[in-house]
């Protein structure tokens, strides 16, 4: 009975670790799909426009966005080599990373919110290897945790 109890504790610990790894995998799948969609979109746009967009009109990844009200006064100090910046705001702000921007642009096919149309699901599945397709299907239905149950 004691051995049973010890193994049960180990089993729970492994289950927790697997759930955490699945959620990290889910985030990486979203990134993979979003990045591939972004590259495809830009490539198509450039082919149609038969030229690249002006360098000062695009922002390359990785980046972050700080979002604040237009009334906010921002005071900025920059080191000569541009390796250090200090911003002072007199109002609140929000910070978002590039993945968040790509999700808002729809590049993750709506998987992040679990509402993915059948066409988008097809696109999303084509952007990941076969072994990961079950995850994409589960994410499209908004229930990643069940993937583990399914495989056992």
């Amino acid at each position: 009975a004691q051995e049973c109890q010890n193994l049960e504790v180990e089993r729970q610990r492994r289950l927790e670790r697997i759930k955490q790894k699945q959620s990290q995998l889910q985030e990486l799948i979203l990134q993979q799909i979003a990045f591939k969609n972004l590259v495809q979109r830009n490539r198509q746009n450039e082919q149609q426009a038969t030229r690249s967009p002006p360098a000062n009109s695009v922002i390359h990844l990785p980046f972050i966005i700080v979002n604040t009200s237009k009334k906010t006064v921002i005071d900025c100090s920059i080191s000569n080599d541009k390796f250090e910046y200090l911003f002072n705001f007199d109002n609140t702000f929000e910070i978002h990373d590039d993945i968040e921007v790509l999700k808002r642009m729809g590049m993750a096919c709506g998987l992040e919110s679990g509402n993915c149309s059948p066409e988008n699901l097809k696109v999303a599945r084509s952007l990941v290897p076969k072994a990961l397709e079950p995850y994409v299907t589960e994410m499209a239905q908004g229930s990643i945790n069940s993937v583990y149950v399914a495989s056992t």
């Binding site: 009975a1 049973c4 193994l7 089993r11 492994r14 670790r17 697997i18 790894k21 699945q22 990290q24 995998l25 990486l28 799948i29 990045f35 591939k36 972004l38 590259v39 830009n42 450039e46 690249s52 967009p53 009109s57 695009v58 922002i59 390359h60 990844l61 990785p62 980046f63 972050i64 966005i65 700080v66 979002n67 604040t68 009200s69 237009k70 906010t72 921002i74 080599d81 541009k82 390796f83 250090e84 910046y85 200090l86 911003f87 002072n88 705001f89 007199d90 109002n91 609140t92 702000f93 929000e94 910070i95 590039d98 921007v101 808002r104 642009m105 990961l132 583990y148 495989s151 056992t152």
Partner: protein, 109 residues
């Protein structure tokens, strides 16, 4: 008898979990490699950009700072404290070790 049954089931399940965890680690490694190659300039890295318009369409508030920095750059946000005149100060500091940081102020108006 029940305890022995339970013991057998748990041992089998732990073996399953070991395999599952190994599979997850491999899939994670594969994805990280795949994302690195997408970001790599030779493959699609030239196309991993967003336009100012893309960004403006994503956010409601009007003033945006787009901060592009080398991987590993550290961003630090101190817990806001009250300044002398009682007003709260909100601060962001950025420190890069491997290259310059580029900041673009986008004012939607």
């Amino acid at each position: 008898k029940e305890v022995l049954e339970r013991l057998k089931y748990i041992k089998t399940d732990i073996e399953d979990l070991k395999l599952k965890e190994k599979e997850l680690d491999q899939q994670k490694m594969w994805l990280q490699q795949s994302i690195r190659s997408i970001m790599d300039r030779t493959y699609g890295g030239r196309f991993t950009y967003v336009t100012h318009e893309d960004i403006c369409n994503c956010f409601a508030r009007d003033t945006l700072l787009a901060i592009q920095a080398p991987s590993g750059t550290q961003l630090e946000v101190p817990v806001p404290e009250k300044g002398h005149c009682g007003q709260k100060k909100y601060q962001i500091s950025l420190k890069s070790r491997s290259g310059p940081i580029h900041v673009l102020l986008i004012n939607k108006e």
